[in-house]
Symmetry: none
Subunit: 419 residues, 2 copies
């Protein structure tokens, strides 16, 4: 079976000039992928007839499906319909059904339809009318030569409605589509290249119909497996077998799958454990508590925390000994230990988290350069301390410190040995 | 003078399949527009050599500048560099300067460089090496035939850093660009439509070569004035005159200009004032402290804070009276007042900030629905309290609460009357 390919074309100067965010093409790409249509290109062009004509011709050469959004408004700068007429060698005519709908649309809102708005009901003669219940610009479907062209309004909720209710079902009828199965393995605490080395042999041995992609983001790497075939159950089973094969190589780093978010995973573990938590933050300055408290329902396990930015705060609200600060400084294993144990005691929680470091850009010394961060987790049995050496911007170092500490907590909750 | 045109090409299956949001092309389009370069097309193609080669050839025909992002990672699915070699008929070779940098990059992080990472230092022989201080994938600049090709990593903060520090300045040198002068007026605490009403007459009277754009973001609206002409000093003077005209209409809402960030502006005011600050957070759960502590040098005025999530924490670490909590609840004017005054006293600071509310999605009642938030600022003279009624997601409500409170602090520091 041939792969069915699509191109997505967005029309509008405001997108090219970065004045508005285009959320449509990401959504369309995901929907097409979900039904087994492979998007081979996305393009944005301005409101210029010549550029629109050119990209239509290019896309028709490459793709089975061309989905066009934007440029269907009632004003002068919306030229998609007239350009489509020129491209297909046809002309505009009022579509009766569309006219009734548009007239009704305005009547319902207590407004008389204007001539400009009547124009919304004019469609190219070769267009199949696709009713848009959410706005005045109809969708259009063209089956010309060997390509299907779809023209949709750029307003996201109108586009999404038309795609969901009309276009996706029609595409499923029009093509014999392959079945695609996606699986995402989410890792933390290991860099892309180190991960790649660990799984190189497994990756090289993947069957040709299962593709692997690395999707790195700050302090995490997602592994995306994409299987293409004809039977979703078979594909799911094949992918699951690959996951089982690779897992032993990377299991300590895997925190979840598919739509799992790291903070949610840690929150779930905490909820299940029935344990409670408090945080003492110096260099993370509240960000760690924010990652915990942005999760709904966190009050079930999070008692609170202290942002002990000054040494006074460390002493008076956490009970860090003055001599500890004098002898070892705020960024030291001795201080972080007292911070974690102090906050755990003060808030009477199972776990006490603590961070202290030099986030930068200033404040570094030869002995303790910017990026030196101590993190600690106090438990009823012991206090785990870890030194991080980070090399990012201030905000990245703050983020990395908080995530690394939550990862220590995750490992403790799962009895994963700490490295 | 000819218009200088650009095309932006994004490489990566994950963008075509809608698995990640492409924020890069919007940013690049806006930056190019800001220096008078007209983006004529944006395209995304997959990690497939043939498709990348095809779009490179097409773009070279159409544009003076081709900016390519993505596909520069160290792993097998990143093929941009090898494809560029094939396109330019050259080959990869280790670039000594790049190798030194990458090795150092890992050494700084206490890691040995792997062979895979050494590959990051291999560049096409015809590439000009553009150092990337934020990551391991260098930028590349190619001047071939009549087109400039730029290849950048897809990681947004790396791409933005390279464009800002290296590429934009080089493009300005390489082309005779029209003179464009931008001025951004940044407002907070007033909605787009209300702002538009206040300045309607002024906006209608703007000369035709000065354009106004509203750029709303959460809880802020930026007004961007763009003047086009031939002499930058003239343009700057004309724009400045317009700013002076509009300012009286909106001055209480204006917190800064151009690259000013709200948190930096408040930080500057605090530093100048010589006053100190502490924070007691319930619904913002550490986010407010994070906004304060993400600014370098904040230890000059920020003593610390308490994330008093539980009532116990409110009583024991802030001295909120039990009967206050029993009589009025945690989300009340009485409690927020005691929180602000309590944290100010405990940390012995000039100002004490406090937040308490229902961020959602759960926890709302008929009397106190989700989005009900109390904020307070305790000063040596008085305690200012304010009730917010927010309608966003949990994270939006957290953000809005923190920003609104910092805006109260800004107004107090500037003696702007509170509404």
């Amino acid at each position: 079976m041939n792969t069915i390919t699509a191109e997505i074309i967005t029309i509008g100067d405001e997108i090219l000039f970065g004045q508005i965010t285009d959320t449509n093409t990401q959504w369309i790409g995901a929907e097409l992928s979900a039904i087994g249509v492979r998007t081979i290109r996305k393009s944005s062009v301005g409101d210029h007839k010549s550029e629109i004509l050119r990209i239509l011709a290019e896309a028709e050469q490459r793709a089975d499906i061309v989905i066009i959004t934007g440029g269907l408004g009632p004003t002068k700068d919306d030229i998609t319909k007239t350009t489509l007429c020129e491209y297909f060698g046809t002309s505009l005519a009022i579509h009766e059904e569309a006219l009734v709908f548009v007239t009704e649309f305005f009547r319902k809102r207590g407004r008389e339809i204007t001539d400009i708005n009547k124009g919304q009901a004019a469609l190219p003669l070769n267009a199949t009318y696709i009713p848009n219940t959410r706005g005045t610009a109809p969708g259009m479907w063209f089956q010309e030569r060997n390509t299907i062209f779809v023209s949709l309004p750029g307003v996201p909720h109108e586009m999404i409605g038309l795609m969901t209710d009309e276009i996706i079902p029609r595409l499923k009828q029009s093509f014999e589509l392959p079945v695609i199965y996606h699986k995402m393995i989410k890792t933390i605490g290991i860099g892309e290249s180190f991960l790649a080395e660990r799984i190189e042999a497994w990756e090289d041995a993947l069957p040709s119909h299962i593709k692997l992609a690395y999707l790195p983001s700050m302090s995490m790497v997602k592994l995306r497996l994409t299987a293409t075939g004809t039977n979703v159950d078979v594909l799911e089973k094949e992918v699951q077998e690959q996951v089982i094969k690779v897992l032993p190589l990377i299991s300590p780093y895997v925190f979840g799958y598919d739509s799992d978010e790291f903070e949610d995973v840690v929150a779930e573990l905490l909820k299940k454990s029935g344990q409670s938590l408090s945080a003492a933050e110096s260099c993370t300055g509240g960000y760690l508590s924010h990652l915990i408290t942005k999760i709904p329902g966190c009050s079930a396990y999070f008692e609170g925390g202290v942002v002990s930015y000054s040494n006074e705060a460390k002493m008076h609200t956490l009970g860090v000994q003055e001599q500890t600060l004098l002898a070892h400084g705020a960024v030291s294993e001795e201080t972080i230990r007292e911070m974690a144990e102090g906050v755990r005691k003060r808030f009477q929680t199972t776990f006490g988290l603590a961070t202290s470091g030099i986030a930068g850009p200033d404040g570094g010394t030869a002995e303790k350069p910017v990026g030196t961060v101590w993190i600690a987790l106090a438990t009823p049995q012991q206090t785990i301390t870890k030194k991080l050496t980070l090399g990012g911007t201030r905000e990245q170092n703050i983020h990395q410190s908080a995530i690394s500490l939550l990862n220590v907590l995750r490992k403790v909750l799962l009895n994963i040995p700490l490295d």
